[in-house]
Symmetry: C2
Subunit: 188 residues, 2 copies
């Protein structure tokens, strides 16, 4: 039987060594009985296309990849703010709506409340979207409850561990722990 396909969501596609990080993730997938699909795999030819057309092509390719997969593992490590990369959050929602199991990990140990408080303390002088009277959702989780519960719905939980300094985008311990959750789900 062909190994179940997993879509590997996360902001490491923006790393200069994205292909190498993706290859390492794909290799761990094979080790655990899965076929891993890292978005760069699409290997699109974007030459000659204007920016909006490039973006459309990438979006269509990634949505197609997701639809071809049996599940998803998301790197939910905070990216440019308190929360996960917004594209990754989108993709978790996408697969959840399709009823496919989603798993996730974060290479930052602190939970959502702690991270939000730290962010707010740092941005005291800034106005607007995160004023002092805006509630900080507190369900003891690592992320917004919609993401947390999408993962819990399949018996999983967000794997959290502190990566060594400088390794938050590349450490794969949480990824492998998520693969173990996926193995249980798929009975591999």
């Amino acid at each position: 039987m062909a190994p179940p396909r997993l879509y590997l969501a996360g902001p490491e596609v923006f790393l200069p060594d994205a292909a190498a990080v993706g290859a390492a993730k794909v290799a761990l997938c094979v080790k655990h009985g899965f076929e891993g699909l890292f978005p760069l795999d699409a290997a699109l030819d974007l030459s000659g296309l204007a920016k909006p057309a490039q973006a459309r092509r990438i979006s269509e390719a990634n949505e197609g990849l997701m639809r071809s997969c049996a599940g998803l593992i998301a790197n939910l490590t905070p990216f440019r703010g308190v929360s996960a990369d917004s594209g990754t959050a989108f993709e978790v929602g996408f697969m959840r709506a399709l009823g496919r199991p989603v798993f996730g990990y974060s290479n930052v140990l602190a939970g959502y409340v702690e991270r939000s408080r730290a962010y707010r303390a740092e941005h005291r002088t800034q106005p607007d979207a995160d004023a002092a009277d805006v509630a900080i959702e507190d369900f003891d989780g690592a992320e917004n409850l919609m993401i947390e519960q999408a993962i819990a719905a399949f018996g999983g939980r967000i794997e959290r561990a502190a990566a060594a300094r400088g390794h938050a985008m590349r450490d794969l311990a949480g990824f492998e722990a998520s693969l173990l959750q996926a193995r249980r789900h798929f009975r591999l």
Copy 2:
């Protein structure tokens, strides 16, 4: 014919006056021929439930609401970082996977590249997830391309305008502009 139902996604659910902001959005929906569903509408009884059970109940209610809606309008105003609220991003992906039209707006004028650069300049001393060699996606958009293109797929675009200082979470001009996009889509 019953008016099409729109799910109203956004971080204003965390405001102290969330119910009032939601009511204002719902009223604008009615004005433009829609029924607006603001997540608080679920009016859930969470008494006596532990935090994880509360989170599960809210998640199930919101997912059910989304499935009952013909489309979604997202408040994509940056929230606790460069990008939109992660729960909102999840919900945009959720509705996109269901093939339903999604619209969105941001009350911050600056695009994704400009916001990312500003964030990076502010966090120069922090290590990890946003090191200097991490690419800043540049497709001239307001958000990660998966979100931007999910909206473009239905002929829409993220409405962007600068809200007055202190009003980034409550200004509804971009919301009403999104409603006009939705009207065109639904031919109302």
